[in-house]
Symmetry: C2
Subunit: 587 residues, 2 copies
């Protein structure tokens, strides 16, 4: 129906007759002439209708915003004075000859031009309108190109694209499953996969050697800004590999994605053990663009007469840490109150600080509500260990280690951004040497998942589960976990040992994972892999704030679709067929 896309017309088309299709982005009358900005996937072009072309002019007079039209006309240069350098097609315009209205349009529910002017609810209800905004379209073009580059890279490395089931068995990732009642097996349920983890391991047992998939995954969790009930992973697995192989391949993949799509040459990916990341940054996904670090000072404060510090300093699960903010003296009382409130989100009961107004002036040069509680030695130790200089501020965290890490870890990022300390655009790293387990109330939980290979023997794992490290690795970029993976257990004895440590009985293991334990018996190769969060990767690279901006039809925070009104009630006949009923209030 057309000869060109609107957005592709340039001075080089001067004199050509073109046929265009698209939406009327704007319509203006000016000096007895009608100007239409016509929009299609590739951009906008200005079309002029003058009264000489009687019929077309009359039709152009009728069109309104978002009408769908087809038109023909001749490309001509604009007068120098009215060329628009901000518009890709701004050197030219089309002198319209014919115009057909293909479809009319009611007045849009919100202005497409005013980004953010409309509330998110109305934008989600009329998603197909919101997606017309050039920014949105660009996100999805970017996403499509990104998956293309990823596929090309992985296929070039011998990875096979294999689809794994969506209707499957409850998976062990630990989040809540979405369930699907079975009609043919009444009383039984499928679960939607939280990841293709076990299937990809079974493909390795099958000898597929190198698998990848851009895979839909499902978690029925309470949603935050960066979560959706369904999300997409770049999922891969390979056999006869070690950590270096998977990390090398995937690092190169991410490098080539950044190079091809953003023309960015990523810097080196440093490797950082989990313990170091927690110690220096309070986080297992540190944003290395921010030059602030945590410093342990428990030893300096173990004996002070101030329980807020000495308590955690003497608690094996406690942590006392300081974080120096260069130039932080300029923070106002109000700023610090704001940060105190901010860290309370993470459970911190307060936010102590010292302002180093004048390092040379001794205690006189320091300003702090807690100074009186500290010994001279402690103060000296803190100043020297943080390397504080005149003008700096030191924040303190003292609590259970978990709270200190979360509070100071988050504060670090916030202060770093607020004070303009962010260095560079992209700071990737690998976090490695994770503990196998987290302990809570005497129960162990897998830090990654129960199929992760420990870096010790089954015997060592049994005797010291808390000290055991895993062969896992996470790729972190700018404080976001881009992807995580590990070398997997390929031997049934080790797998049973890990299940045991997790308190999974033999019966439960057999019932839930019997097929995996079986598979490991019949000749499983050493294997490992990794999964990237595709939505998050696209969000980071396009500079969006929410993954909702890079998912075509996202759900709201209550996991509903405003456009289709899903989920929705279902008639009783349909429920009867699949053998379930809605639970009544008092059941």
């Amino acid at each position: 129906m057309r000869s060109h896309y609107c957005g592709d017309l340039r001075a080089s088309h001067d004199g050509e007759t073109v046929e265009l299709c698209g939406w009327v982005h704007r319509r203006r009358d000016h000096g007895g002439v009608i100007f239409l900005d016509l929009r299609d996937r590739n951009g906008l072009v200005q079309v002029v209708f003058d009264p000489d072309t009687e019929e077309a002019f009359a039709r152009a007079d009728k069109v309104r915003s978002e009408y769908v039209v087809r038109l023909s006309g001749r490309v001509r240069m604009r007068d120098e004075a009215v060329r628009n350098a901000k518009m890709a097609t701004g050197d030219i315009e089309v002198l319209g000859k014919e115009l057909t209205i293909l479809n009319e349009a009611a007045t849009p529910p919100f202005e497409l031009d005013e980004h953010g002017g409309a509330g998110e609810e109305v934008r989600l209800k009329y998603r197909y309108m919101d997606l017309r905004r050039p920014d949105m379209l660009r996100n999805f073009q970017f996403r499509s190109r990104l998956t293309h580059v990823v596929r090309a890279f992985l296929e070039g490395q011998g990875f096979m694209d294999v689809e794994t089931p969506i209707l499957t068995r409850a998976t062990p990732e630990g989040a809540r499953d979405y369930l699907v009642p079975s009609r043919t097996h009444a009383g039984s349920f499928f679960a939607l996969p939280q990841s293709p983890q076990l299937f990809k391991q079974l493909l390795m047992v099958a000898g597929f050697d190198r698998y990848y998939q851009i895979a839909k995954c499902f978690r029925d969790e309470d949603l935050r800004a960066d979560r959706q009930p369904e999300f997409t992973q770049i999922d891969l697995e390979a056999s006869f590999v070690e950590e270096e192989d998977i990390m090398g391949i995937t690092e190169n993949m991410v490098r080539s994605v950044f190079k091809e799509l953003l023309d960015v040459q990523l810097p080196e990916f440093p490797r950082m053990p989990f313990s170091e990341a927690m110690r220096r940054f309070g986080s297992d996904k540190p944003d290395l663009r921010i030059p602030l670090e945590l410093v342990d000072i428990a030893d300096l404060l173990a004996n002070v007469d101030f329980k807020v510090f000495s308590g955690p300093a003497n608690d094996p699960k406690g942590r006392v840490a300081a974080m120096k903010v260069p130039g932080g003296c300029k923070l106002s009382r109000k700023d610090i109150d704001g940060y105190t409130k901010y860290v309370s989100i993470y459970g911190a009961k307060g936010l102590a600080y010292i302002k180093v107004n004048d390092l040379e002036a001794g205690a006189e040069g320091l300003q702090s509500p807690i100074l009186k509680f500290l010994t001279e030695d402690a103060i000296e130790g803190i100043l020297s260990r943080t390397g504080a200089q005149t003008g700096d501020l030191i924040f303190f965290g003292a609590d259970k280690a978990k709270i200190v890490n979360e509070a100071l870890g988050a504060l670090r990022v916030k202060v770093g951004h607020d004070m303009g300390l962010v260095e560079g655009d992209w700071a990737p790293l690998w976090v490695v040497d994770f503990p196998m387990f987290e302990e809570e109330d005497g129960q162990y939980y897998a830090l990654h998942h129960p199929f992760t290979m420990p870096s010790c023997s089954p015997e060592e794992l049994k005797s010291n589960p808390e000290g055991a490290l895993s062969r896992a690795y996470d790729m972190v970029l700018n404080g976001t976990e881009l992807g995580g993976g590990s070398i997997r257990i390929h031997n049934p004895a080790m797998q049973r040992t890990v299940f045991e440590a997790l308190g999974i009985s033999d019966e439960e293991a057999e019932e839930k994972f019997g097929f995996l334990l079986d598979a490991l018996k019949y000749g499983a190769p050493p294997h490992g892999g990794l999964a990237f969060g595709l939505d998050r990767m696209v969000m980071l690279m396009t500079g969006c704030d929410s993954i909702r901006d890079v998912i075509a039809f996202p759900k709201t925070q209550t996991a509903a679709c405003m456009m289709t009104n899903a989920p929705s009630p279902v008639d009783n006949k349909q429920l009867r067929e699949v053998g379930v009923q809605v639970r009544k209030e008092d059941d």
Copy 2:
């Protein structure tokens, strides 16, 4: 862990030291030497261990079938006498030096070599073993390459890969939905999509212009050999297009798939109206490789004194048809009895025939149980209209048109194969000009789906729904529907008219499709698309009998996974959370 894949070694590697990983496919002792056939994704290679390499020999002595090993050795030419031309690596062998057992393997539950020897149940339970068979692996390599070619082709044509939701609203394709109870909206349900139909139309309204997706679709239907609860479509849609555009693009896509993967140059794709396909072949997906056709003879038999023929001949919904089988005289009584039974599956109450033993001999030369019921004129008419020659046989069908078409349509294919009449390897065609509706018991059903554009105006549709044709097109290959699509309705008035014809009230339309009707109001472009059944395409091209052979982890005929035992019971707590309970017997 390796320097080469086993299957890649050739005479050109002679003298090289290689490191290999893989599975022990076979182990033989012969003349004091151990032979291992080592297998990986790329094939098999023979490795020889002799007692000189003491340690390795001792380990090689321990390995059994399907053990996973890593080994190193030197490639050398085999003696001329023992070269194996049937094996890609048959000119060489590897003289083993070192060997590590990476994993042991229990005796496999079935022999990998004996194709079809094991029952399907056990093969599905140990799917990861069945997938080790080289034939199976090849199917999935083929599938991965096919999607690669499809993606490259479509992206080259400007199609964007966009993901649409899996958790969505009940869709209107007419099959049973899989339901997912919502936790956050108690009593409400998501449905898994039967296709991305409405979402892709909304992407067109959003101005995405050209969309594609390799999309999972779900239908809770009773399964046949070529159906699965979840299956995959190559789904595409474009704006500002007409039939010719979509058919041209997709025909070229399929051509390039055949050329690149099978080195086959597909012949012309003829276009055939639905009515012609039904008339000549009794099917809307005729296998054109089979040179047998149906011929209408109702007019010849309307007045014979034989109700079996004259009844349907005078029934407006009846059909009386003849099918000539060249050389069919050689069919035995038993053959014909077999075919009679075969057509009874389709509801045919019998299978009349005439053998033309000698065309010149008049009635004497004909052999048939029904001859006595026919007038001389009728016989002459039948012989001339079918063009029967001496040696031919004519089958008859007389019943409701639907039964005749299904029975003779299926018989055509069966007889064609049985008698070796199949001509050529690949016979593609387009079937076009479908009716908009099928009528059953006074109710109209959409032959494609309710969003298909009629080729007439809303007024004409209202006045003659039965006569209305649609702008739909199906691509058929060798009697299988590869894909189907249409130009869609882009105008709300036409959409309402079609809903009306289907007996969908305004309220129901608003409730179920309100978002689509809304979207059509706000400037919907003319658009159309098509969806291919990927599983079926791969099945046809790899020569498999079942789509289960081209799906990595398929379900059984009762929609269960033998390997993971999905679906499975779920504990009450989990059901309570999502607000449902299993229906008790008497509810």
